[in-house]
């Protein structure tokens, strides 16, 4: 059964407690985060590459770290039941991947609209025909306007931290929004790396439903709460206004999350050598590949910098605008065919012909550093002419 865990506040666990090295997979890092998150209940449905992490969460339940856990009948059922459990005023966790994300799609805006601090891990994979279980993060583009906060992990360390910190951010009274913590499947979930972990005898303080801006669904406190009322099915100006202001409040809550993301994640972006004329803007595992590409370029005497985007929602428009102010070439490598990150970057900055959306790999292909290097070299003469 559950080893004695001491409940501590997030700051103490995340910033003050000394950490120890562990050599683990990304899936194991997810379970290590859940072990310390004082989660009341988790619900699972298998899909590659998510399954292993939710097996491990099931093991945590068997060991007494969680109070309830079950396998539901499909992802829509999982996300609906997670919504129900969260309405009941407890801390919940689940995870899914690719097709599971899309099957459950209708529920994500419900989580956000219901202002629920649910943390869900997404292990991205291909979705479309031809069928693919390979790494690819196109599913993030479908999630962009669900109202959820979206963090994109570069590696297992990020994944561990972003899940635990996700709870701390999501549960702030002025935020209370769901957090999707995304990682590129297989690359992060199925590879082993060094992750620094706080001790397992610490767990976050229990969720306090009284910290929510709207009361839990337990008939314990007035007012009687009815979700989607009076917003639905009333055709009058007051209900239009109420509905619109509710949506605005969800968006505003995401903006209010910025200061907490700054505190817990150390900013929405991270930069390296941002003075360089050539900048690579990336998120997820593309960041690691970008670091390699920058090293190669440096060996050839070409100076390039990096902007790692950690928070996709809220999107760090201002931070990226400032970080790219002096760049003449901005390259956005991605693990998906649509190029959602390049679109976001282009929409955030001035003079966006500086942005090269690419290279893009998908269908399971890896992103060798040479691809990024070539993309930059191809673009170099043109930008030299421009400037």
């Amino acid at each position: 059964m559950n080893k004695e865990q001491q409940a501590v506040n997030a700051d103490k666990m995340l910033f003050e407690t000394p950490r120890k090295r562990a050599f683990i997979t990304g899936s194991e890092a997810v379970a290590e985060a859940v072990k310390r998150a004082n989660v009341d209940m988790a619900i699972a449905y298998p899909i590659t590459p998510q399954s292993e992490s939710m097996h491990l969460v099931g093991d945590l339940y068997a060991q007494g770290y969680l109070k309830d856990y079950y396998r539901a009948e499909n992802e829509f059922a999982v996300m609906a039941a997670i919504h129900g459990a969260s309405l009941g005023g407890g801390r919940v966790f689940t995870a899914t991947s690719g097709p599971g994300t899309l099957r459950a799609m209708e529920m994500f805006p419900v989580w956000a609209g219901s202002r629920q601090p649910i943390v869900c891990a997404f292990m991205c994979r291909g979705i479309a025909l031809p069928p693919s279980i390979q790494p690819e993060n196109i599913e993030i583009s479908f999630m962009l306007d669900t109202g959820m906060l979206i963090f994109h992990a570069e590696n297992a360390q990020d994944y561990f931290d972003m899940i635990l910190k996700g709870y701390a951010i999501a549960e702030q009274p002025d935020v209370h929004l769901p957090v999707g913590v995304f990682a590129d499947g297989f690359f992060v979930t199925h590879t082993r790396e060094v992750v620094m972990l706080p001790p397992e005898n610490q767990k976050l303080n229990a969720y306090n439903p009284a910290s929510a801006p709207i009361p839990a669904f337990d008939m314990e406190s007035p007012p009687i709460r009815s979700t989607r009322d009076p917003l639905l099915n009333k055709s009058n100006f007051i209900s239009y206004a109420a509905n619109a202001s509710w949506h605005q409040e969800v968006l505003a809550a995401a903006q209010r999350a910025r200061k907490h993301i700054d505190h817990f994640l150390g900013g929405l972006i991270e930069t390296e050598n941002p003075e360089a004329e050539i900048l690579i803007v990336a998120s997820g595992t593309a960041v690691s590949q970008a670091r390699e590409a920058i090293r190669s370029l440096r060996d050839e005497g070409i100076d390039a910098g990096l902007v790692k985007v950690k928070s996709i929602r809220p999107f760090p428009e201002k931070e990226i605008r400032e970080a790219t102010a002096n760049a003449s070439l901005i390259v956005v490598p991605e693990f998906n065919p649509g190029g959602w990150l390049a679109r976001e970057v282009k929409a955030s900055i001035d003079n966006n012909s500086r942005v090269i959306g690419g290279p893009r790999v998908f269908g399971g292909m890896s992103l060798p550093r040479e691809l990024i290097v070539n993309e930059i070299k191809k673009a170099l003469p043109a930008t030299a002419v421009n400037s």
Binding site: D40, M41, I43, K67, D68, Y70, A72, E73, N74, F76, A77, V78, A80, A81, I82, H83, G84, A85, S86, L87, G88, G89, G90, V92, E106, M107, V110, S114, F217, D218, M219, E220, S221, P222, I224, R225, S226, T227, R228, D229, P230, L232, N233
Partner: protein
Amino acid sequence: MSKKIITPVEEFRDLLPDEYKELVNDGPYNEAKTVDDLGSFKEITEAHPHCAGCGVALGIRLGLASLPKPQDTIVIGTPGCSFFALSQSALNYSCTAFGNQNSVASGLKRMLKLRFPQTHKDVVVMVGDGGVADIGLDYTLHSWFRGENITTVMLDNEVYGNTGGQESGMTVKGKVLNMAPTGKKFSKIPVFEMAKTSGCVYAVKVTVANARKLGTALRRAVLIAREVGPTYVQIYTPCPTNLKFPPNQTIAVAKDAEKTHYAYEEYITDEASAYLSGLGEVKEKS
């Protein structure tokens, strides 16, 4: 919850709407009320915007009046006409996506059991036939297979009322409706029979013409679901608007249905029966 929680502080008492004051003073919270007491207490559902003569509205009214413990009851719904009355009741009510009601109820009930181990928080699903039998059928069945401690109530108007009169899986065979322009091709989905084989420990088929039986069924279903297992109440709630009969004929239409395909039926397992007779507080009035 206790009535104290909704009792306003003295300073605000005058400012509150009359409906609220009546609810606090004369509501059924902490009182054992049944359909027989209707008219003698402030009901927990208010005037609703349903069509005149709506069977769904009547089914909800009778059902809510029969809850054994309304002060600790949470209702889960789904899009459909039932939303109109349920969202105006003085109960926590959630209507999220179409068809997911039994999943939401599963998660909610489990969390409430964790958070309030000493008290019964009753979770009751109340939704239309399309919501249960079509889009939500697998979620309904799986909540029964898993043995969730929830009550599922189908308000069966044999049509999609809210979207303008399309056939549903519960429509009778041959009926011409929108999206069934040449008549429905298959029989009513046997959800009542499925309940019996899918893990429900108590199931009743009843119509709104039989108020007492409906009330007793609902109260028993909620009590049994607390300890024994999932329960199901299927109520015939005819829709004058889409089935095209005069609104003052709803009860007559329901009575007729009792003679054709909606005869009262009750299924109860031995365990549920024993549990029920062990409950001293069950107020038998039917």
